[in-house]
């Protein structure tokens, strides 16, 4: 028998063993069963009580283990997100990582002046367009809370419409309450061509948040139930940050965040069995000096790697995570170091939907340059994670023999094997500079921030987004006018 090809090991990070994973899971179930959650949404509280939960102190409820186990069984193992043209571009399952931007920053770095200023709606459009033009950034989020919308109550509807106009990639969106999410859903149906089409090929996912510790506000649950019934994929992380919303020790913060996620999942599955739910809390760390939630810390990368291990050991559901962000106020060495740390570890631990790429200033400021840099860092991480294929071609004994036989004038750079393989064999950077000193100087001695600024500008001026149908655009404009 002829031996088959040698499989390629793809580097993989594990941070928990099975006993650790089970112990955190057990603690999460114990939180639900013994401590309970505060459910401020009457319909959800009724559903939970009807399913076996025990209400106490008005709107607190304790949830038996089996409710979580049942919800985990009925939630789908794969969430397939489509682009707005109907292609399945983000199969969120198993080991597939997808990177995208974040939402809701207050400020952005102005592309022309470099100044940190309040976000406007056009910024959301620019970020979406940039995402559309970057090959390693798979989905768009608003990246800003624009200050120039006419009705602040519908800020997320304007932001969603702006994204739809500027990208065809999948969109992860924010909403405030039942009213505005219904408007966003209307726009999504216009784009997809109807409710059924949207349900078949969802191009959007809602990001909602419960409030740690253990609190589920009514307007958040309205959104959760709306999404469940409409088949819109949703995630419901809470701010279970170590030392802030949650215990300072990472295991405790994870257990609580997972308990909150399970509680959300239980309501979600009771509202619509089999509806898609992206699992995972946000477990970052509260900085012990500034009290900001850190976006550059190693803790968040560690807890989401741990969650990926728990997905593999226990949950089986695709997970929500973050990367490519920083606490630095400017796009500098700190920003690059922190962004790469989270990007490579998120990929090595096989997180699934990875948002916040392009944040600086602990998520208060967005930067088009930073998104552009993240795109390159993801490519670098992807190259590393592909591992080293080992076969006759890559071992290249033929090439070596040719060079040896051809004598001293021969060298690998001119060999056919190099010509035929270099594009797959090596990582070819676009933004990271490896030019010789004199060439770099002649080009203007530009640092990465400058180069990424120029690249972002180039994409925004040259990239063509496949335009939406005029009829759809008119429908959207009419809806916005009617708000």
């Amino acid at each position: 028998m002829k031996p088959g090809p040698i499989p390629t090991f793809q580097p993989r990070l594990k941070v928990l063993n099975r006993r650790q994973a089970l112990a955190i899971h057990t603690a999460a179930l114990e939180i639900l069963e013994k401590i309970g959650i505060k459910m401020e949404h009457a319909e959800s509280l009724d559903m939970l009580a009807g399913a076996g939960g025990k209400v106490f102190d008005k709107d607190w409820i304790r949830l038996p283990d089996y409710l979580a186990e049942e919800a985990l069984r009925s939630a789908p193992r794969q969430i397939a997100l489509y682009d707005q043209l109907g292609n399945k571009t983000m199969p969120l399952v198993d080991e597939n990582p997808f990177y995208g931007t974040g939402s809701d920053t207050t400020f952005t770095l102005d592309l022309e002046t470099g100044e940190r200023r309040r976000c406007i709606l056009a910024d959301t459009g620019n970020f979406a367009k940039l995402v559309d033009g970057l090959e390693n950034i798979s989905f768009a989020m608003s990246m800003g809370n624009p200050e120039d919308v006419s009705k602040v109550d519908y800020i997320y509807v304007y932001a969603f419409a702006e994204m739809v106009k500027n990208t065809n990639k999948p969109i992860v969106f924010i909403a405030d309450r039942g009213e505005d999410i219904a408007k966003i859903y209307e726009i999504a149906c216009m784009v997809a061509g109807g409710e059924d089409q949207l349900r078949q090929k969802p191009f959007l996912l809602n990001y909602s948040e419960a409030i740690s510790p253990l609190r589920f506000p009514a307007h958040v649950m309205d959104r959760l139930i709306f999404c469940a019934r409409k088949g819109i994929p949703i995630c419901l992380p809470s701010g279970s940050n170590a030392g802030g919303g949650a215990p300072v020790t990472l295991a405790g913060a994870m257990a609580m965040g997972i308990a909150e996620n399970l509680a959300g999942l239980i309501v979600h599955q009771l509202a619509a069995k089999g509806a898609p739910f992206l699992f995972g809390p946000n477990v970052s760390a509260l900085d012990m000096k500034s009290a900001v939630v850190s976006y550059g810390c190693p803790e968040w990368s560690l807890t989401q790697a741990a969650l990926a291990d728990m997905r593999d050991e226990i949950y089986g559901l695709p997970i929500w995570s973050f990367a490519g962000a920083s606490d630095s106020k400017v796009v500098d060495a700190q920003a690059g170091a922190e962004a790469m740390f989270s990007i490579i570890t998120a990929m090595l631990s096989r997180c699934n939907l990875i948002h916040d790429n392009g944040y600086i200033e602990y998520g208060s400021t967005s930067s088009l340059e930073m998104v552009t840099i993240a795109n390159e860092l993801v490519a670098m991480a992807r190259f590393f994670t592909h591992g080293i294929p080992v076969n006759e071609t890559t071992l290249a004994l033929d090439a070596l023999e040719r060079i040896k036989n051809a004598g001293p004038q021969s060298f690998f750079l001119m060999d056919d094997h190099t010509f035929e393989n270099f594009e797959q064999a090596l990582f070819l950077p676009k933004l990271l500079d490896r030019s010789r000193y004199d060439a770099w100087e002649a080009e203007g001695s530009k640092d990465l921030y400058t180069r990424s600024n120029e690249e972002a500008k180039r994409i925004l001026s040259e990239h063509q987004v496949t335009p939406k149908d005029d009829g759809v655009l008119k429908e959207i404009a009419d809806l916005l006018k009617g708000l």
Binding site: T106, N145, E147, V152, I155, P217, G244, M288, K289, A291
Partner: protein, 211 residues
């Protein structure tokens, strides 16, 4: 009498020793107000400075604040007819529509440590609730917090509500929270803005001319 041991205990966050020292001072017939001003608040000034310099971390600062609170409980019965004087009454809250309170709580603890009386209205506080409490408590300062840029406009509405009732000049308004800037504070007619809890104490003292 020297309060050095008491000061050290509050700065270290040693609750047991601090309470013992407070009792000792009371037993030695020291004036309760002196113990508060020269012992506890003085210690918290040092703690506040250390925190602002980055020499200590938030949990250490809060432990000192907790130590002070427990000592104040020990002292309370020794003030004659509730005659404890504070540096001022501060009404504090997170604005309507916003349910986030870690930053606001931190500000409250720091201000209390600095010797102010804090009336914390919690989260999701409507303009009229702020206004009613300011009237009732005869507040010197109103502190409002918001984490979301979408809830910030409620700060402006509260200031307007104060103006409508002719109360704007009776109270200083200071605002803060992640999306809030000095410019925003100026735009909506607040008296001051603080970027963090340490700055909140500093700015509040400045507003009330306390050195």
């Amino acid at each position: 009498m020297s309060y050095q041991t008491l000061l050290d205990a509050v700065i270290k966050g040693d609750i047991k020793t601090a309470k013992e020292e407070t009792l000792k001072a009371v037993d030695a017939s020291q004036n309760a107000q002196d113990i508060l001003d020269q012992g506890l608040i003085e210690a918290m000034n040092v703690v506040g400075d250390n925190f602002s310099k980055g020499a200590i971390f938030v949990p250490q600062m809060l432990r000192s604040a907790k130590t002070m609170q427990e000592c104040v409980e020990v002292l309370k019965p020794h003030f004659q007819e509730n005659a404890m004087t504070t540096k001022g009454n501060i009404v504090l809250g997170t604005v309507k529509g916003d349910l986030h309170d870690i930053g606001k709580n931190l500000v409250g603890m720091m201000l209390e440590g600095a010797g102010f009386n804090i009336i914390d209205l919690g989260v999701d506080v409507a303009p009229e609730v702020f206004v009613d409490k300011i009237k009732e408590a005869n507040a010197d300062v109103l502190g409002m917090s918001a984490l979301l840029s979408t809830t910030m406009p409620s700060m402006s509405l509260t200031i307007k509500a104060l103006a409508d009732l002719g109360l704007r000049d009776t109270v200083k308004v200071i605002i803060g929270g992640a999306p809030v800037t000095r410019k925003y504070a100026e735009d909506i007619g607040a008296d001051s803005y603080a970027s963090d809890a340490g700055a909140a104490v500093h700015e509040t003292k400045k507003l009330l001319n306390i050195t």
